[in-house]
């Protein structure tokens, strides 16, 4: 402002119009200000307030005041005016008798003198807003920052966004500046607040969640008499897996009893790549949750997401889109199976993995088929059926080789080694460990698909450690001298994001120390594992802890070992103690 007055010489260079404006401002600030305040909405108290202030000031201050108000009015007054106009439009729409909507009037004091602002409880943002391609992409990728930016572009104010989502305005502003929103519950709140169809953001539908609950109840109420015997189920499952891995099994053919086809509701629209990317993004997000917290935390969300994904399968789409959708759904089913396994729902795990296999085959992804077979095998390792697991791994290896991914082959070799170790075949185990190392060394890690990429050097060490732990227990306790360094190395390099693996490895390490006769040290590490395991609802962690409990239990004469065994019992069967 002062530059304006002092820098006089430069003034003459400016266009005459600007000069005229300056003269008016200077000589008739009252007139200028009265013109400026017209930018504010009609009944805004600022119109009177700002003019009144003017008359208490001296001349120079007046000019400054007027300029400041010009600036403020342009930004604030104008935007409020536009907001008001939008509200009016909304109101007119709502007066349409066809639409029954509730209005909520904010306390009239929300913004000095501004008209009470009606906020719609439903449809706060017009539903069409979510259909726009750019918006769909942002929703699918869950880029809240972009979503907010697009809303702002449509004239929704930060304050309105904040009111709808229940966030503070400063939070909204930070997100607009690029802060990421990752937490599932916050995403849900944002989606619901704004009225985004949840599916667009890859979040669970409410009715689908209800369906899931029903499914789960059915799962629980299955009576043992009604169930097929476990060995029959296994045989059927293996036959199915073999048919898919080797044969020309296609989607829709009889998938066996564990693949219960969910009721498919008609889906009214065609699907495009955006929908597929949505499924992919949701899977990625949920998988990262799984790594971080264990399956118990996100299985519900995965299963709910799945029901939505299954529905869009029947929608119309191009071949390319369909194929990629099948792969995306296979991966999601795969995750559903894996997280179900993690929370101990074995039948449900089998069901999802079976379905995943169908989709992977339909999507013509050998690499994914290999991955799913590997996970099926892991389910059977857990069920203490290493022979069956081995067969699944072998089928998986065929698919992995067809896919040309050495990394996938490495993962499967490592697990075959595990299965052999559980069967007590020392030689075969060592041979497969060797192959794991070879394949891993040959693998092109950059090109590997997302779901095998997880298998890094730490995991190789972790697997070697695990396998030797099993051998140490079953065959020869001298294997601890291989297991301990491998596990230690894996534990040291695992970051916080894979706490579950850390918990499993700590537990195995403790077991090794116990087997080594180093009871006190083993017990100390065991307690660390117990502390970590407390945060998990994970079958795999529990498996490892149970082994540790057995070993600790054998050494009850030592008070540390006894404490450890009791602590583990406490953790998993608090009622029993």
């Amino acid at each position: 402002m002062t530059d304006f007055l002092v820098g006089g010489s430069a003034w003459w260079m400016l266009p005459a119009t600007l000069l005229a404006v300056a003269v008016i401002f200077g000589l008739f600030p009252g007139v200028a200000l009265r013109l400026i305040v017209l930018l504010y909405p009609k009944d805004d108290l600022r119109r009177r307030e700002l003019v009144a202030e003017l008359y208490t000031l001296d001349r120079l201050q007046r000019i400054e005041w007027v300029f400041q108000q010009l600036e403020t009015a342009l930004f604030e007054g104008l935007s409020r005016r536009l907001a008001q106009r939008r509200e009016r439009r909304h109101l007119e729409q709502a007066e349409d008798p066809g639409l029954q909507e509730t209005y909520e009037t904010l306390p009239s004091r929300i913004d000095d003198g501004q008209r009470p602002m009606p906020i719609r409880r439903s449809e706060r943002v017009t539903p069409e807003a979510w259909e726009d391609q750019e918006m769909r992409n942002a929703l699918a990728a869950r880029e809240v920052s972009t979503i907010y930016k697009l809303l702002r572009r449509k004239g929704v104010s930060q304050r309105q966004i904040a009111a709808m989502t229940g966030q503070s305005q400063s939070e909204v502003s930070e997100i607009l500046k690029g802060r990421q929103v990752m937490a599932y519950d916050v995403l849900v709140r944002i989606a619901d607040g704004l009225g985004v169809p949840r599916g667009y953001m890859g979040l669970a539908y409410d009715e689908v969640t209800a369906q899931r609950v029903a499914e789960r109840v059915a799962e629980r109420s299955e009576t043992p008499e009604a169930e097929e015997p476990e060995n029959v189920k296994r045989r059927k499952f293996l036959a199915h897996a073999a048919a898919v891995a080797v044969g020309a099994h296609v989607l829709g053919a009889d998938s066996g009893s564990w693949v219960s086809n969910p009721v498919l509701r008609p889906v009214p629209y065609r699907i495009g790549m955006t929908d597929v990317r949505q499924v992919e993004a949701a899977t990625r997000a949920l998988r990262s949750l799984d790594y971080q917290y264990g399956g118990g935390f996100c299985r519900d969300a995965v299963v709910a997401q799945l029901s939505w994904g299954e529905q869009i399968v029947s929608a119309w789409g191009t071949e390319v889109v369909k194929q990629r959708l099948h792969v995306a759904l296979a991966d999601l089913q795969n995750l559903a199976g894996w997280t179900s396994f993690d929370v101990g729902l074995i039948d449900s795990a089998r069901k999802h993995l079976g379905r995943a296999l169908d989709f992977a085959k339909a999507g013509e992804s050998d690499e994914l088929v290999a991955n799913i077979l590997y996970r099926m095998g892991r389910v059977y390792l857990h069920k203490e059926s290493p022979d069956l697991a081995l067969k699944l791994f072998q089928l998986g290896e065929i698919a992995a080789q067809q896919s040309g991914s050495e990394l996938a082959v490495a993962v499967i070799c490592a697990n075959q080694a595990w299965a052999y170790a559980m069967m007590g075949h020392e030689d075969q185990t060592m041979k497969l460990i060797g192959r794991t190392r070879d394949e891993f060394a040959r693998a092109n890690h950059g090109e590997a698909a997302d779901w095998v990429k997880f298998f890094n050097e730490d995991d190789v060490y972790s697997m070697i450690g695990t396998v030797h732990t099993v051998l140490a227990q079953k065959v020869d306790s001298r294997h601890t001298k291989y297991a301990i360094p491998a596990l230690t190395r894996a534990i040291d390099s695992y970051g916080d994001e894979v706490t579950r693996s850390r918990a499993v490895n700590l537990s195995s390490l403790a077991t090794n120390h116990l087997l080594d006769g180093n009871v006190n040290h083993g017990a100390k590490i065991g307690h660390q594992a117990v502390d970590l395991a407390r945060h998990f609802n994970s079958c795999r962690v529990q498996d490892a802890m149970m082994v540790l409990k057995i070993e600790a239990g054998k050494r009850r004469t030592n008070s540390d070992a006894r404490d450890l065994a009791d602590a583990i019992s406490q953790l998993y069967e608090p009622d029993a103690s």
Partner: protein, 95 residues
């Protein structure tokens, strides 16, 4: 924050827009939205001068702290004293 300091400078008095701007050193484009928010939150109450007492010029709008505002702003100032961002301000108290 500066606005809070300026208002709390005279917790029981009446405050005018321009004077607050001068005291706090905050531009009116920032000041008025802050005042509006404080009003909405019930920290401030407002009123208009008595036209009879202004001698011809239009009555001004004034702002007064409410009981709630006094508590909230007081708490804000106390917590700001220990915040490095506001060290440059004269917040009174211990420092």
């Amino acid at each position: 924050m500066e606005v809070a300091v300026a208002i709390m400078g005279d917790p029981s008095g009446k405050h005018w827009g321009y004077a607050l701007m001068q005291e706090s050193g905050v531009r009116s484009g920032v000041l008025y939205p802050i005042l509006a928010r404080m009003l909405a939150d019930g920290w401030l109450s407002d009123g208009w001068e008595d036209p009879a007492a202004t001698g011809g010029r239009p009555p001004r709008r004034y702002y007064e702290l409410t009981e709630k505002g006094r508590i909230e702003l007081g708490a804000l100032l106390v917590s700001a004293r220990s915040d490095a961002r506001f060290r440059g301000l004269n917040l009174g108290g211990a420092q």
